[in-house]
Symmetry: C2
Subunit: 494 residues, 2 copies
């Protein structure tokens, strides 16, 4: 068994994936007798040149896979399409207990994703995650054909990002100096993701959720409780031009560090901090009077986002800003911004929000359906409780295009991101909590709508995927009750 | 640093624990500079002889620990007390970041548990667990000073126990032949537990939840759905004397295999299967007529438990049977039986049940408060949601003696078992789901009532315990929001 990579045999992406699939992923079971499935050559033919830059929005992941007696071929326009095809190839190989050997199914497959953005979000502020754990999630993402890691890097609790220009940020804001990411580690993650056809979109949330930035003197507004006593500072002092200079410099570094063209600037929950940090702050109130904003802190918010856009204009020319949905709700975002939807108490409410935002011409990324940090007993992706009739309230059923709107509006839905806010997850438990729950999201975002109508049909696919990944050494928890894998998770596996 | 074990230097329990604490547990952090805490000798003096048999109900775990300049001594009646003292000793050692060395706190401690039974329950039927994963739970239990593993071995879904006398049981009833426990593996678990002062109480649940036993021909009653069609068989045919012969032989094997004197025979949820399997079964109905039971299947249940007691009399002389609470509710259990309480919708309801059962003179083991398989978002042990006032509805607050009753009744409360039913857990996720949630139960059952009134006080203890165990290489998930450990979980740690 081997890969014939043709004229791309020096391409690192193809080489490393061929090596991983060959040595680790295609034949994962701890069995000693191997059989005929190993005796073939996979011919990989890619039209475009090898990518030495990272994948960007809209990159092609299309591939054709043909498995017939005497021929196994993957054809794709890009190397990323080819590696998606390798994963599909792995799904055609199974270990046959009867004959004690690996077998392969014949197939003729043409495949491409429904949405261009299919991601997960990690939050490295509430709990720090090791690079090793992040890389494992990237491996699993690729096996789920996901293509975007949203790295919610910093927040109120901690600032693990090591800035080269502003080292005071992590020195003061990180939990400890070990709970950080060095520039080398960040590049390591970005490149590890690139090899797997995954974009790394950083988020530096502002102007709220910024207590982690407290290492930067003067950046945060003083805040006051009801009795006028100083309290938790979690909002930028936007009245100070020096702070905009700082933000500009900082974002310049981020643009240098992260090649990804989507740049998430947060903007959520400013309202939660406004009373303490702006309303009760005499200096801010004075500024608002001067500007003629009166008591309306919403106007001060607008001022921030407008000024941010002006200051970042040159940087943002090379980037597409992404904002949480409040910036659409409360302010007027840059016309080329993407709106990240995270609110809504039901699928219907969420669809309505997507409808409204796309009606204004803004592209949307959806997370509201997929806050995987929220857990409950049972198989919440399908929401079936043992013995009950499967309902359609599980989050698998959330479809980002399930709203009434024009084709233009539907096309503005870029996809979705399964979010894992970090309050209760860290290295110990994030992997099993993410997977296979995020696999339900991955299927929703890759596969055609008409083939993903029913969680009962998805279940066997989820189960098979889980067992394959468990055999590969990943902690993919039970999909549904009851369930067992031919080979169970064993820490010795890798 | 070393252990002076005195005249017990050949005792395997002391030797193995001394070795583990010395090489793995006392100095777990991945730091290179070590300091003065390493330069001392721990004198261990045990009055009673080394245990080459397993610990049994009521075994002494009392110890005295003295740490002063020039002296570190653990004194105990039993080796089990001594190893509890070693764990406490480990809690006095900390790595001091300022001086880059380990330090030890001086202390004078006399300690013993509040309840004799402090356990966790694993369910190896719904999902199989590897011996390696079970052993890891035993390690963590010892670090939480827990002393009983309740092994819910078989159930409706699968029969992983390899019986020597009746191999057809696992051959038919196990998920696969790999999803089993060989006699050697069972002994391995029992001995691994013994070394850590942990009893292994097996449960073979009957007469319901028995579909896993289907390899035994004729054991299960035929069952019928509403339309009279054959359906899922999950209840023993108790009308057949051959089946009692089989049960007697089988339990004889179990008594040979498991030295633990508590023998859990289940008895729960018979009612769930009665309609299909007894009411609608003509053969059973005929038997009931003959016996004069009429339509009253409750009398057939009584018949089963009475006959079981008679048949097992000789075996049970050496054992104490444990039954789930329905056997108390619906039948008349053997007067020396222990009642395992698992039902109740509130702490108050649960206390009332414990009151009623102990009033009848039966000892009680409590699990109703601690079904750790049920999960929800947040720190359910303390039930505090971020920003809200800590409530006292978290399961930490459940106190098994919190009922109105005589001292005799209180003394009949043997303790509790944190149960992890296996529907949604397996090797991939059981460890992080158990811990530190079961640590809250461990503290409730070990420490005095007056010192465990408030979850807010317990939190820092839980946090410290978690971080120590994380550094030792165990997957102990975040205790509460927010949280970080000086050294985070890293799979390379052990």
């Amino acid at each position: 068994m081997g890969f014939d990579l043709g004229d791309k045999k020096d391409c690192d992406i193809l080489r490393q994936n061929a090596e991983n699939y060959l040595n680790k992923w295609l034949f994962p079971f701890p069995v000693t007798v191997k059989g005929s499935a190993e005796d073939f050559i996979v011919t990989v033919r890619v039209r475009e040149k090898c990518q030495d830059t990272v994948p960007q929005h809209g990159f092609s992941e299309e591939y054709k896979l043909r498995v017939s007696p005497g021929e196994v071929t993957i054809r794709a326009d890009t190397v990323y399409g080819a590696i998606r095809g390798m994963e599909t190839l792995s799904q055609l190989i199974f270990y046959d207990e009867r004959y004690k050997k690996y077998q392969i199914r014949t197939a003729e497959i043409e495949d491409s994703p429904r949405f261009p953005v299919r991601g997960i979000m990690i939050d490295t502020s509430r709990h720090w995650l090791s690079v090793k754990v992040i890389k494992r999630q990237l491996d699993i993402m690729a096996m789920n054909k996901m293509n975007l890691l949203h790295w919610h890097m910093v927040d109120s609790e901690a600032f693990p990002y090591q800035s080269k220009k502003f080292p005071e940020l992590h020195k003061v804001g990180a939990y400890t100096l070990r709970h950080t990411y060095s520039p080398e580690e960040v590049q390591d993650v970005i490149n590890y993701a690139r090899i797997r056809g995954i974009r790394v979109m950083p988020e530096f949330d502002m102007p709220g959720h910024t207590n982690g930035w407290r290492g930067r003197e003067g950046l945060l507004s003083e805040c006051f409780d009801e009795e006028g006593k100083p309290t938790w500072q979690d909002l930028i002092d936007v009245t100070n031009d020096t702070n905009f200079n700082f933000i500009e410099e900082f974002i310049k570094e981020i643009v240098d560090v992260f090649p990804e063209k989507f740049l998430h600037l947060g903007g959520d929950e400013v309202e939660d901090f406004v009373t303490q940090c702006w309303d009760r702050n005499p200096k801010i109130r004075e500024f608002m009077e001067q500007k003629g904003f009166g008591n309306n802190t919403r106007l001060l918010e607008d001022y921030f986002f407008d000024k941010l856009a002006t200051r970042l204009r040159r940087l943002i020319e090379q980037r597409t800003p992404v904002f949480w949905q409040e910036v659409f709700d409360n302010n007027e975002p840059d016309p080329k911004a993407i709106i990240h939807v995270w609110k809504g108490n039901s699928h219907e409410e969420i669809y309505e929000r997507v409808q409204q935002i796309t009606a204004q011409g803004y592209p949307v990324i959806l997370s509201a359906c997929w806050y995987l940090n929220y857990i409950k007993y049972g198989a919440d992706w399908r929401d079936a409780i043992l013995g009950s009739v499967p309902s359609n309230s599980g989050y698998y059923y959330c479809d980002p295009q399930n709203f009434t709107g024009s084709q233009e509006q539907k096309d503005l839905v870029y996809g979705g991101i399964a979010a894992m806010w970090g309050e209760f997850v860290d290295n110990t438990n994030i992997e099993a909590r993410f997977w296979p729950r995020a696999s339900a999201v991955a299927e929703r975002l890759w596969s055609p709508q008409e083939k993903t109508q029913n969680a009962s049909d998805a279940w066997p696919r989820m189960h098979e995927l889980r067992c394959r990944l468990v055999a590969r050494g990943f902690r993919i928890q039970p999909t549904n009750y009851p369930d067992y894998c031919p080979y169970e998770f064993d820490e010795k596996a890798i």
